[in-house]
């Protein structure tokens, strides 16, 4: 099979050997996998899917997990808010599932709607930025480990993840700038102000956990959590929890997107599938931050042992823990009213900043004791 001087068969078998050498070990599915590995072309696909870096980035807790989570959380948030307000929430679509695929219906409707690019917009950036903003969403997924499943294993996983998460607001501000509308301008200004208010406490809380565990490696962090991190540094836990609300525009701090005041702020001009992409940006950020939250404070993937599932347990446990954390977190949307911008910034720069400095000192002390 020698086409234009390149040995395709050789390359394929070389890749196949790479995939095969580092596959997930799942005792329950072993007979099935062994059977599939015997079939010529299918075995390459199976080997690729079960290849640990690929599985971590694309299946769980990566892209597929992210999509499943998005379908779940949009529905669950609407349902929860409805229950708090004595309503039923989405129920009639797929009645046996009690409306569980409402987000799918909305997504399909958005997909087939017209995408309006208004005359004042900076057209290339306006269209490209929602798609480009997937870069800082997907890159951290390569560094977040789940047991044996990890994209790229590095001792600098925590700083890298924090750095990529901090990159997302830049895209939001750029989206507001490219929209070139007054509401979008106000929204991106608010986003910029909020960014400075929550980013420093966020970084300080993360650094304090580095001091507690003595390393930026997330494996070390999980190994050292014989006592969960929430007890090792409760101050950092509180700071991180509030920062999670602030950074993802949850309701007490839903200031950049305030839809009653400035009509979704930076995203006001988007319609159709582009709005679908920018609307889930905050949810995706929440997913990343809560994965990190679970690893740093709630023991990560440890705690559950199912020998039959082998390596699949760790990503499953991490994913379920993260989704449960977010599902508890979304109730604040139905409960709290919105802060003013100046109130939120004052809170961020005074109380939250002070608390994060205290958590840093506390973390250094705990790390020294350990």
């Amino acid at each position: 099979m020698d086409v234009i001087g390149i040995d395709i068969f050789g390359i394929v078998s070389f890749l196949f050997n790479i995939f095969k050498s580092n596959m997930l070990n799942i005792p329950l599915l072993k007979p099935l996998i062994d059977f599939l590995m015997g079939i010529p072309i299918l075995n390459l696909i199976v080997a690729l899917v079960l290849w640990r870096p690929f599985f971590g980035v694309v299946i769980l807790p990566g892209l597929t997990g992210l999509m499943l989570y998005l379908l779940w959380i949009v529905y669950f948030e609407r349902k929860l808010a409805a229950r708090v307000q004595w309503r039923v929430g989405p129920i009639e679509v797929a009645r046996p599932l009690r409306g569980a695929i409402q987000a799918l219906a909305d997504g399909i409707r958005y997909f087939f709607q017209e995408v309006i690019v208004h005359r004042e917009a900076h057209t290339p950036y306006f269209v490209q930025l929602p798609i480009l903003s997937f870069i800082p969403i997907l890159l951290p997924l390569a560094f977040i480990p789940a047991g044996a499943v990890v994209g790229i294993r590095t001792p600098y996983a925590l700083p890298l993840t924090v750095a990529f998460i901090s990159l997302i607001p830049i895209f939001v501000i750029a989206i507001g700038w490219a929209s070139n509308s007054r509401f979008a301008f106000i929204g991106s200004m608010r986003e910029a102000f909020m960014y400075f208010a929550y980013e420093i406490p966020f970084v300080l809380a993360a650094i304090s956990m580095v001091y507690v565990y003595g390393s930026g490696d997330l494996y070390v962090a999980v190994e050292k959590q014989t006592i969960p991190g929430i007890l090792l540094n409760p101050l950092a836990f509180i700071v991180y929890l509030i920062v999670m609300l602030m950074a993802t525009s949850r309701l007490p701090f839903e200031i950049p997107e305030a839809d009653q005041e400035i009509a979704f702020g930076p995203f006001v001009e988007y319609s159709g599938i582009l709005f679908g992409l920018v609307m889930v940006l905050a949810y995706e950020k929440l997913y990343l931050m809560s994965l990190l939250f679970v690893i740093l404070f709630l023991g990560g993937w440890s705690g559950v042992e199912i020998p039959l599932l082998g390596d699949l347990v760790a990503p499953l446990v991490l994913f379920i823990k993260a989704v449960v954390v977010i599902s508890i977190l979304v109730i604040v949307r139905a409960v709290y009213a919105r802060y003013r911008l100046d109130q939120a910034i004052r809170f961020g720069w005074s109380n939250l900043f002070g608390l994060s400095v205290a958590s840093l000192i506390f973390g250094i002390m705990v790390g020294w004791l350990m």
Binding site: G89, E92, V93, I108, R109, F112, V115, D259, V268
Partner: protein, 349 residues
């Protein structure tokens, strides 16, 4: 043109998916101009919960696909309705709620009213004044059915039955004679207290040769000639009346004249504070021109412009004469004159 969105949803190999997605995800943006907005709020609140059928009430036009028009659409709101509709991405639908949007309702022959169907293509009307939340939900369900089947149907069909017995329905005939003259006299003498009389006397002393009448308690009237109006107003200002409360025009069609009234008041002189002085004059209906008082009393400016639009009285000296201020650019001229032609009553059957 109306059905191009339905045609889009029904065409192509992906038609079932398109139809399903749009069917379960009609997000209404609401253009509320009247009381129907309250019923819409009920529809999406605890009791009825429109979100059950996937309709999420949304505030922003760009991200929605359904607009619910609640209430009467005036000439000025028509522009806003059109702009809102054009902001929405295709495919989009329109539901009109209430009697005002359907036929005009309370305002059915108003000079400033527009039918929503003249502005945007309407998919469904929901009759009622106001319609109940059940009716609105039924309207949304009908729209869902239209998306699914491709044809619009009424939700209720009334069959017409001939009763056979009884009197035939009597149609009210048009009145044969309409009197051109005003017949009711409202000039009843009222009680006047001593203090008002005193003040009227004082005013009469300061402005010479003009009669000042104390009409009732704290109400004083001054009738002047058209030419003397400005002079009297200046002397009244020097007396202590410092602002115009209201400018009013009465169309007396049988005498072919307009009566123009200025209600003056005072914020600075303590004795005059409770007094409202009515300075009025009459001008010819054929050539309605009057010297503006807006340079003496700046607060008269806006009211003069308003009266200019409604009655066509030309206030000489007011810099804004001839331009539209309150009315929409396309509304008819002088709508409050008594000979203004309104839409006539029509009886069906």
């Amino acid at each position: 043109m109306e059905d191009r969105f339905i045609k889009f949803l029904h065409s192509g190999k992906l038609a079932p998916i398109k139809k399903w997605g749009t069917y379960w995800s009609l997000w209404p943006v609401h253009l509320v101009t009247a009381c129907c907005g309250v019923e819409l709020a009920h529809t999406f609140a605890a009791g009825y919960d429109g979100e059950r059928i996937g309709a999420l009430n949304y505030g922003i036009a760009r991200q929605t696909n359904l607009i619910i028009v609640e209430g009467a659409i005036t000439r000025k709101m028509a522009k806003i309705l059109r702009v809102t509709w054009e902001q929405m991405p295709d495919p989009k639908f329109v539901i009109v709620m209430g009697a005002c949007g359907l036929k005009g309702g309370l305002f059915w022959n108003g000079y400033n009213l527009v039918k929503p169907s003249d502005v945007v293509p309407v998919d469904f009307y929901i009759p009622g004044c106001p319609p109940t939340p059940e009716a609105l939900l039924r309207g949304i369900r009908q729209l869902q059915d239209k998306i699914k089947s491709g044809e619009a149907k009424t939700s209720v069909e009334f069959t017409e039955k001939d009763l056979g017995v009884g009197k035939p329905i009597k149609i009210v005939p048009k009145p044969k004679k309409v009197s051109k003259t005003a017949t009711i006299v409202v000039d009843v003498p009222r009680k006047v207290d001593e203090r008002t009389k005193e003040i009227a006397k004082k005013i009469e002393d300061s402005i010479k040769n003009i009669k000042v009448i104390a009409v009732s308690k704290n109400r004083v009237a001054v009738n002047v000639e058209k030419e003397k109006m400005k002079e009297v107003a200046a002397s009244l200002k020097s007396l202590g009346f410092d602002h115009v409360k209201n400018v009013n025009v009465i169309d007396v069609i049988n005498e072919q004249k307009f009566i123009v009234e200025y209600h003056l008041g005072s914020y600075s002189t303590k004795d005059l504070m409770p007094i409202i002085l009515n300075l009025y004059t009459s001008i010819s209906r054929d050539d309605p021109k009057l010297k503006s008082l807006s340079d003496i009393f700046p607060s008269a400016d806006y009211m003069e412009r308003e009266m200019h639009e409604f009655f066509g009285v030309f206030f000489e000296g007011n810099p804004h004469m001839g331009s539209r201020f309150l009315l929409a650019p396309d509304s008819p001229e002088f709508p409050l004159r008594k000979d203004f032609k309104l839409e006539e009553e029509v009886y069906l059957r």
